[in-house]
């Protein structure tokens, strides 16, 4: 039950885009049509789902204060948490590279549809942000971290596909010249964010 609650909460209430603005750069750049948005969204879910549990284990057994105590009592007081940024980003960059190679080898059709997006994901704030939020939220086990990863990935996917659909329609409407393209997109995302705030406080 807690898993379900966490899942729904991470999709709607703590939505990566509308509540925390994570992954905004690629969100705005790649949402011009639904097909590419779809590809990027799936890639984000995939990479979040792999990197977040790994970073969780890394955090619990290596980085957190006292996490190294399994090495012996001498290490019980070691606190490596200042290294977390560099290790998390290294894990993410490495995993993205591995995922890219695996997908290219075994799922060539998926690879050609994801195209350039996979390598770009290494610098997507949503991925690193997921890991940093995981560290802050102090999940009790790896399952919670995985559910959180899946939920926030799906939330991101929903947001980008929704925006892409709106932008496809928007190209037919008569927007004031200075607002064309980027400006009106910002307003759209803002309004979508306000709509998403209606989910705030949902409890399951």
């Amino acid at each position: 039950m807690e898993y379900l609650s966490l899942f729904v909460k991470s999709i709607f209430v703590d939505n990566m885009i509308f509540a925390y603005f994570l992954g905004m750069c690629s969100y705005l750049a790649v949402s011009k049509n639904v097909k590419t948005a779809n590809g990027l969204g799936i890639a984000v879910i995939l990479v979040l789902l792999i990197t977040l549990p790994i970073n969780y284990l890394l955090n619990t057994y290596v980085l957190a204060p006292g996490a190294l105590s399994w090495l012996g009592p001498k290490f019980a007081e070691v606190d490596l948490s200042f290294l977390s940024f560099i290790l998390f980003i290294a894990v993410i960059a490495g995993i993205v590279q591995v995922v890219e190679m695996v997908v290219e080898k075994f799922l060539p059709s998926l690879y050609s549809s994801l195209g350039i997006f996979l390598p770009l994901i290494a610098v997507n704030c949503a991925i690193l942000g997921g890991s940093l939020f995981m560290q802050q939220k102090e999940f009790v086990n790896c399952g919670e971290a995985t559910v959180y990863a899946l939920g926030s990935g799906i939330g991101w996917y929903l947001a980008i596909v929704a925006l892409a659909a709106i932008r496809e329609k928007l190209s037919y409407s008569n927007v004031p010249a200075p607002l064309k393209g980027l400006g009106i997109t910002f307003f759209t995302v803002g309004l979508m964010g306000i709509a998403f705030m209606a989910f705030m406080g949902i409890q399951l």
Partner: protein
């Protein structure tokens, strides 16, 4: 050379502003603009990180193998961010807690990587340092503008001092909510593109 240097310095402020023109680094910028103080600290951190990491990457640009350059750049940037984060933790713990994950997210801020890729890898250290710093300033400027209006209209204060209370202003709670940052940014783009017609999209 002088004209080129001047362009390096002035371009990121208005004509090639990283946020409103290039749309880089929106991710970590909007959540920290509820208060002016947070926006200023964030702006300062980004200026330091972009400047220093451009400088370092430019210094080692001839030794970086092309294939692994992204990883090396990320390492340099992560190192700078850790430095900034540790300094903030030591001297301004409250603000560090308030900015929470967004300091760490400077690593994946597209401005930093973008400037290294586009400028620092092909230029000498000093222009790279300037380019990094000025892009940080261009970014920080937008952050401070949005932070100024959001704090002023949302809580009626500036840096925590009550400003609008005296004239009987009622706080507008909507401005505090995260999505309003996007709307303010949309307005800034609107104003800028009305002035500079060549930036308008067809």
């Amino acid at each position: 050379m002088d004209a080129k240097l001047k362009e390096t310095i002035l371009n990121p402020i208005f004509k090639g502003n990283p946020i409103s023109v290039l749309v880089l680094g929106i991710c970590s910028s909007l959540a920290v603009t509820v208060e002016l103080k947070g926006a200023c600290v964030m702006a300062l951190s980004v200026i330091i990180v972009t400047g220093l990491s451009s400088l370092v990457c430019s210094l080692i640009r001839k030794t970086i193998p092309n294939r692994v350059r992204i990883v090396i750049q990320l390492t340099v940037v992560a190192m700078m961010v850790i430095l900034v984060d540790q300094v903030l933790k030591a001297f301004a713990y409250g603000i560090d807690k308030q900015l929470s994950v967004y300091i760490g997210l400077i690593i994946t801020n597209c401005i930093v990587m973008g400037r290294i890729e586009a400028f620092a890898l092909g230029n000498k250290p000093i222009p790279s340092l300037l380019d990094g710093l000025m892009n940080g300033v261009g970014y920080g400027m937008i952050l401070v503008i949005v932070g100024f209006f959001r704090e002023l209209l949302g809580s009626g204060t500036l840096f925590g001092f009550p400003v609008l209370k005296a004239i009987g202003y009622t706080n507008n709670g909507l401005v505090i909510l995260p999505p309003m940052a996007l709307i303010f940014l949309g307005c800034i783009i609107w104003v800028q593109r009305s002035i500079q017609k060549d930036l308008q999209e067809k």
